[in-house]
């Protein structure tokens, strides 16, 4: 380091030090040898348990509650939707191709009555395929049908199921593996960090697509393979964020203090650092949901996705993309479901972040 840089560093460190408010606790000056027990004892006594308080705070957040409701609703629909529509997700009905949405009740209001404005080259043409279909007056496709005459309501919820599953696994791997990896690497630093980061670099330095394609080609194509392939590198982003957070926090005074008191690394990481950064990590993991869902859709795009006629939200969107200008309704519903899902997850994450942040207590 040059002289100036060193001086600069000193200055800001001094500034940071000065900025901290020190509220000494009577236990702060006990001997380090007393270790974990001492640090535990040093934690201020809470009137209610941490989890309970966090939940209480979450319950006060209207946005988060709303999101939770939507997530539960979507999960419920994903579970029962395919069962109540009366159609199979791969069932092709002859003559039912490209039918616009038609919903009982709403059709009387002039919306969702099965007619759509098709932008033909010679001018917009209003088409109602239900009228042309024999016995069509009794047919209802709530979300319409696709080019092969499959009911999109069934397919959307069937796809939501698979996408949710992929998202769930993505978040789990992110939170369990990615986070621990980053925290450990960041905390220990030095040689451990060097080796762990080189492993990440090698893994990340190979274009993702090659690893994923290879796995899918070598193993049997299917949902488990796709999830495995996505997860193999999916955790890296999270690990990087966790490491950066750890780097930022580990030399802060409260961590130093705990370390001086002899706290073990595991305790330090999980009890001192984690609560401070879990918010950011949660938000980050919410972002891994769309990226996991879209990675899967991208695989479908290049022909190694979920085997047809199975569907995921991503594959339905990328399939109906091809008819977007002709039949926009095909894409509308899955995109709305996906968007709602993303929005809910994000708002919930925000709420969780606020609820879990120990410093938000007094606000």
């Amino acid at each position: 380091m040059t002289m100036q840089a060193e001086k600069k560093a000193e200055n800001s460190a001094a500034e940071a030090l000065a900025a901290e408010e020190f509220a000494f606790d009577e236990h702060d000056f006990e001997f380090a040898a007393q270790g974990v027990a001492a640090v535990r004892a040093a934690e201020p006594v809470l009137p209610v348990s941490f989890t309970k308080e966090a939940l209480l705070r979450l319950a006060k957040n209207r946005g988060a509650l709303c999101s939770l409701f939507f997530i539960l609703l979507i999960v419920l629909l994903a579970l029962v939707g395919p069962l109540v529509s009366g159609y199979g997700y791969s069932q092709q009905l002859t003559g039912h191709d490209n039918m616009a949405p038609r919903i009982q009740g709403l059709e009387k209001l002039g919306i969702f009555n099965g007619s759509e404005a098709v932008p033909m080259a010679t001018g917009v043409k209003i088409v109602n395929k239900y009228e042309k279909l024999q016995g069509g007056e009794k047919v209802y496709h709530w979300f319409g049908t696709d080019v092969l005459g499959r009911d999109l309501f069934t397919r959307t919820w069937e796809g939501t199921r698979i996408s949710l599953f992929i998202a769930l696994v993505a978040v789990l791997i992110d939170m369990l593996f990615g986070m621990s990896y980053g925290l450990i690497s960041g905390y220990f630093g030095g040689k451990v960090d060097l080796v762990m980061q080189r492993i990440v670099e090698v893994l990340h330095g190979i274009p993702n697509l090659i690893i994923i394609t290879l796995l899918i080609i070598v193993l049997k194509p299917g949902l488990p393979t796709i999830i495995l392939a996505l997860m193999l590198t999916g955790w890296i982003g999270m690990s990087r964020v966790a490491r950066a957070q750890m780097l930022k926090l580990k030399e802060q005074e409260f961590v130093l203090a705990a370390r001086t008191l002899g706290a073990r690394p595991f305790f330090l990481i999980s009890k001192e650092v984690l609560p401070n950064i879990i918010g950011q990590l949660l938000v980050m993991s919410m972002f891994s949901i769309p990226s996991a869902i879209f990675s899967e859709a991208f695989l479908a795009f290049i022909g190694i996705g979920i085997p047809v006629p199975m569907a995921s939200l991503g594959t339905i969107i990328s399939d109906s993309f091809k008819s977007l200008t002709a039949h926009p309704y095909m894409m509308a519903f899955p995109v709305v479901v996906l968007g709602l899902l993303m929005l809910s997850f994000n708002l919930l994450a925000d709420g969780l972040r606020d609820a879990l942040d120990p410093r938000m207590k007094d606000r």
Binding site: E15, Q92, P119, M120, V147, K322, T325, A326
Partner: protein, 568 residues
């Protein structure tokens, strides 16, 4: 202290931004000045007036703008193998023959040809044509390119055409048993070319009109080495157009009219451009904006434009069919194969799924492929095979169940990953499973080349595959299913069939009616044996701007751009 921190901070922020910027600013300077689609090293490339068609300008530039669905893999006529490469290199080059919309091969670089009485020796007298570098096109250019084509060291896949044309010693040279100098082609002098054949082939001229037989200037070709065909400077052409801007795998190609082209007087436009557009909806938007004059429509777009005056469906010669691997248990059963072949509704497939003008195929030899001397299509003379019949299919399936002692079978269907094929395969899957209860079809999709590779290794059960005619004769299809044919991936074999098809290329060659009968009988055998399950004959739905006239299509469905006319 506040000042130092302030300074430090602004510096840091600037640094962080710079780090981001640095990555992009440096390279961005380069392409901005030397436009990437332009040739390397050429400075005067920024000529926006030619590449950007002006909307609503006073006069329309006399240039036709075409779309390609992918990049050309090569501009080297010897290596060009896929439709796109053949299209682009075909605009740049011409050979002994040229094939127009009527499918007839006419002399191009040759003034005249003297055929020996037994049709085994053709002597061509070449025109005084020149390469784009001004050198004369000589008989030696043909000798060089044909020998390169045959040279086993080059391992060119279209060397098979030399075998098809039955050029003397082609088989032995390609197999490495004779030196390439023994190939039946020689330059008697600079302007006289002699080609010798092993046996007369009635459709040989259409074969010789293909790009692989185009001449190549040896000195230039060898001087450029690996760089041949990577830029206008390293490409030599002799066809209707000359390369103006190109780089390897360019998404935009510019060509100008070749004033020295042998039929230059027939070329009306000043040039043409090829724009690669892979997304079909973007292609249509670009067409509507006037950036592209001719565009192929995807399924849903085809539906939207079906009543537009510029909608032009063009039937190609390509047959899409299901190929059963007869070595797979179950598929060796004739009744099961027949049940599968009859179980799907082809009419509904082309009407509701493909929508691009494709027609149901109840045959092997496609419409437009084989036209007799009196102008009749082989299809109109021949009975259909394997017409869809769900009731009959069920009967065959019951028989098959009894013979096999099974109530359920399941097969994997290999499909390549493009929209139309995937949709078609899902349709077929649903139809087969619905009409033959107990049959399960699992679709496995993959890139086309992987599909072909899996099929060639006979590592498949069912595959949705295509074959496009190489030349205008029924044998371009029927040869495929000969015992031991490289492309007979399904492994089906029938001695009577082999006899008929081989005779058509040997003893029956000059006996037109008997040859026709043999070919017809052979096709019927495929039907009776359900050796393949024909599905549909592909059509492409084009949109052509009303002011662009003269776009033609070959009988095999390829677009001919050279006679395009831009109306003002």
């Amino acid at each position: 202290m506040i000042n130092t921190t302030k300074k430090a901070l602004s510096l840091l922020l600037a640094l962080a931004l710079l780090a981001i910027l640095a990555g992009c600013a440096t390279p961005s300077a380069t392409p901005a000045s030397s436009a990437p689609a332009a040739s390397a090293g050429e400075t005067a490339t920024a000529e926006p007036e030619s590449s950007a068609p002006s909307e609503g300008g006073q006069t329309r530039p006399n240039i036709v703008h075409l779309a390609l669905e992918g990049e050309a893999a090569t501009l080297d006529t010897l290596k060009a193998e896929d439709t796109i490469a053949l299209t682009v290199s075909g605009a740049l080059n011409v050979g002994l023959y040229i094939r127009d919309a009527d499918g007839v091969a006419r002399l191009a670089l040759a003034e005249s040809v003297d055929k020996s009485e037994d049709n085994l020796v053709f002597t061509y007298h070449l025109k005084d044509a020149v390469w784009s570098n001004g050198e004369a096109i000589t008989a030696h250019d043909f000798v060089f390119s044909w020998r390169e084509l045959a040279d086993p060291a080059n391992a060119l896949q279209y060397s098979i055409l030399l075998r098809t044309a039955a050029v003397l010693n082609a088989n032995q040279v390609i197999d490495g048993e004779l030196p390439k100098e023994e190939l039946g082609i020689s330059a008697l002098d600079d302007k006289t070319l002699e080609v010798r054949f092993e046996r007369p082939i009635p459709y040989v001229e259409t074969v010789l009109s293909m790009g692989s037989f185009f001449p190549v200037n040896e000195a230039f070709y060898k001087a450029q080495g690996d760089s041949y065909g990577t830029s206008p400077e390293t490409t030599l052409s002799n066809g209707a157009f000359l390369l103006k801007s190109y780089q390897p795998s360019a998404t935009f190609i510019e060509m100008t009219k070749n004033p020295d082209y042998v039929f230059a007087e027939r070329i009306s436009v000043d040039g043409l451009t090829y724009q690669v557009v892979k997304d079909s909806q973007q292609a249509v938007l670009a067409y509507e904006n006037g950036d592209i004059d001719v565009v192929v429509l995807g399924g849903e777009q085809a539906e939207l434009y079906s009543d537009a005056p510029e909608f032009t469906p063009v039937l190609t010669g390509a047959l899409w069919f299901l190929s059963p691997n007869v070595a797979v248990p179950g598929l060796d059963n004739l009744n099961l194969r027949k049940a599968l072949a009859l179980s799907f509704d082809k009419e509904a497939l082309v009407k509701t799924v493909l929508k691009d003008g494709s027609i149901p195929a109840d045959y092997v030899v496609t419409r437009l492929t084989h036209v007799t001397a009196d102008g009749a299509d082989f299809r109109d003379l021949t009975q259909p095979i394997l017409q869809a019949d769900k009731a009959l299919a069920k009967e065959f399936w019951q028989k098959a169940q009894e013979e096999l002692g099974l109530s359920e079978v399941s097969f994997t269907l290999l499909v390549e990953d493009n929209e139309a094929t995937i949709n078609a395969s899902q349709y077929l899957q649903a139809q087969i499973q619905e009409n033959l209860p107990g049959v399960t079809i699992t679709i496995e999709q993959m890139p086309k080349k992987n599909r072909v590779e899996r099929m060639a290794a006979q590592d498949y059960e069912l595959a949705l595959t295509r074959w496009g005619p190489d030349y205008s004769d029924a044998t371009t299809f029927l040869d495929l299913f000969l015992t031991g044919s490289t492309y007979n991936y399904g492994g089906w074999s029938n001695a009577e069939y082999d006899g008929l098809v081989k005779a058509a290329s040997a003893e029956l060659v000059n006996d037109i009616p008997a040859r026709l009968k043999a070919l017809q009988d052979a096709e019927q055998i495929i039907g009776a044996e359900a050796a393949i399950f024909p599905v549909y004959q592909k059509a492409n739905a084009y949109l052509i701007k009303p002011y662009v006239k003269g776009i033609e299509f070959t009988t095999t469905g390829a677009l001919i751009s050279r006679y395009a006319v831009i109306e003002q």
